[in-house]
């Protein structure tokens, strides 16, 4: 029997999710339904604000850019967490982990599924914003790639922690998949700068990679330059976040083995 390589096992996991989405139109619709609703609601609000106050510079660009980038973070996290939840819902975890699949390969598979979901959603939102509001996200230029990558990585890290918590506390904790990211929303400086926050909250914001991304986005839009310092802050924090997310997942995996949770989860 030929030994399967890591890449082959990761591809198998991705293939499993491809088959799932191909057979489930509700899952495909879910990829774009909520982002579309968000974009419609907040997009029209920005049009209203633009007409109301001509003194507000770039209000449409600032608001819609922030909204789409926030959704990239959210979709990256939920993509990873849902990839894990799909295995829990189908009571398939034990079958996966009696195969040669390693926890690390499992994480990589989750992240790739999360990436594909995010690209689909972000592409749809970008196109919708262009059609409805004549807002072109790509107008940010090359910095957009830096923002996108940093938000993806932060989303993956949180997604891994959420998966770990579901593994530890069972299916009853699945609502965390949709809730945890919103803990970061007030301090991520999405629609306002960190300086608006009360002083005691600013250190927390500055410890959040997304806050540096959104500050960087505003620098690009308002000053027309890319702040390299903010970029590296986000990269450094993300390195810590993703290392932490992987460590928490692997730790909970060991706990799950000790407590017999891999056999029980999903029941």
């Amino acid at each position: 029997m030929r030994r399967a390589g890591s890449a082959s096992r990761v591809i198998a996991l991705v293939l499993r999710h491809y088959y799932l989405y191909r057979s489930s139109w509700t899952r495909v619709v879910e990829l774009v339904y909520w982002p579309a609703m968000e974009l419609l609601l907040w997009g029209f609000l920005t049009l209203y604000l633009r007409d109301l106050g001509p003194g507000l510079p770039n209000v449409v660009a600032l608001f819609l850019g922030a909204l789409i980038l926030w959704d990239i973070l959210f979709r990256a996290q939920i993509g990873v967490s849902l990839a894990f939840l799909e295995e829990v819902w189908s009571r398939n975890l034990a079958n996966l982990f009696v195969s040669p699949l390693t926890p690390l390969e499992f994480m990589v598979g989750q992240v790739i599924v999360g990436l594909i979901r995010t690209v689909v959603t972000a592409g749809f939102m970008t196109a919708l914003a262009l059609v409805l509001y004549h807002y072109n996200l790509f107008g940010m230029g090359i910095p957009l790639v830096a923002f996108f990558c940093n938000l993806l990585v932060m989303g993956w890290a949180i997604g891994l922690v959420v998966s770990a918590l579901i593994l530890r506390f069972g299916q009853g904790a699945e609502s965390l998949a949709w809730a945890v990211i919103f803990l970061f929303q007030p301090v991520a400086a999405i629609f306002y700068p960190v300086s608006v926050l009360p002083p005691w909250l600013r250190p927390i914001a500055l410890a959040t990679p997304a806050a540096h991304v959104f500050e960087g986005m505003r620098v690009v839009m308002l000053e027309g330059r890319f702040d390299v310092g903010l970029f590296w802050n986000a990269v450094g924090l993300n390195a810590l976040y993703v290392a932490g997310g992987m460590a928490v997942f692997l730790w909970m995996f060991r706990v799950a083995r000790r407590r017999g949770l891999l056999v029980q989860v999903g029941e």
Binding site: M1, R2, R3, A4, G5, S8, R9, I11, A12, L13, L15, R16, Y19, L20, S23, S24, E86, S90, R91, N92, A94, N95, L96, F97, V98, S99, P100, L101, T102, R254, R257, R258, R259, G260, L262, V263, G266, E267
Partner: protein, 252 residues
């Protein structure tokens, strides 16, 4: 051939304050079918889960193919497989898709041909493009068995392989398992509540009670020792604490 595929030495598992398995030792040789018997909660599923490294033992040592599974996970698990009615496959995927995913996880060469041949052998070829969730329990069991055989395992662990099956399907499953052992010389560990099944299928039986092995031997030897006509009567004697004294004995 007498090569020991499984070596379990004084293995125990405690969950919180309850012992699920206590001081369990046994071996399983190539070309042998070993039955694990016991009432609900006797420790059968936990034992299988420890063999597969889904659960870590509190004490003791497990070696598969002469290797420590915690240290040589890939080498061991690529030669092993498992099936249980308590573990499912993704319902929205078809039989072919499920087997393709698992074939890739195990690195099976010529996968498409393998999937078709396996399904023809298990008489589920007509279900290849049916969603797993649309199958009857008997069909699901056969698909789970196909998944368990996808990598031609040298060690096959089966938790209640005929649970909730009608007698016809259960009989076919037993035949397939016996045939698989004959063809490949694989070692099979089967946990079951079905005593006629164990009598028919297993070369040797270990009876667990409250996590401990209380009897071990061939089905015929256990019948002789307990002076009973069926394994079911032996099982009831042990479960209810009847004679002879429930001490671990290795019978010829």
């Amino acid at each position: 051939m007498s090569e020991e595929i499984v070596q379990v030495e004084r293995v125990s598992k405690r969950f919180n304050h309850a012992w699920a398995v206590r001081n369990l030792s046994f071996t399983l040789r190539r070309n042998e079918i070993l039955g694990l018997l016991g009432a609900n909660g006797a420790g059968k599923t936990t034992t299988i889960a420890m063999l597969l490294h889904l659960v870590t033992p509190t004490a003791g040592r497990i070696r598969l193919f002469g290797l420590d599974i915690a240290r040589a996970r890939h080498a061991v698990l690529s030669r092993t497989n498992f099936s249980s009615p308590y573990v499912d496959l993704p319902h929205r995927l078809t039989v072919r898709q499920n087997l393709t995913v698992y074939g890739r996880l195990y690195g099976v060469p010529k996968l498409a041909e393998k999937v078709r041949a396996l399904c023809e052998h298990l008489e589920i070829a007509d279900l290849l493009d049916t969603r797993y969730g649309h199958l009857s329990s008997g069909q699901k069991t056969r698909v789970a068995l196909a998944k368990a055989l996808i990598n031609d395992p040298e060690l096959l662990l089966l938790d209640e392989p005929t649970a909730s099956l009608d007698p016809d399907v259960a009989d076919r499953v037993r035949s397939w398992l016996a045939d698989y052992r004959t063809r490949t010389g694989a070692a099979l560990l089967v946990s079951s509540h079905n005593m006629p099944e164990v009598e028919r299928l297993c070369d040797r039986v270990i009876v667990l009670k409250q996590g401990q092995a209380v009897a071990e031997g061939t089905p015929a030897a256990l019948l002789r020792r307990y002076g009973r006509a069926t394994l079911e009567d032996v099982f009831l004697d042990i479960a209810r604490g009847g004679p002879p004294a429930p001490s671990l004995e290795h019978l010829p």
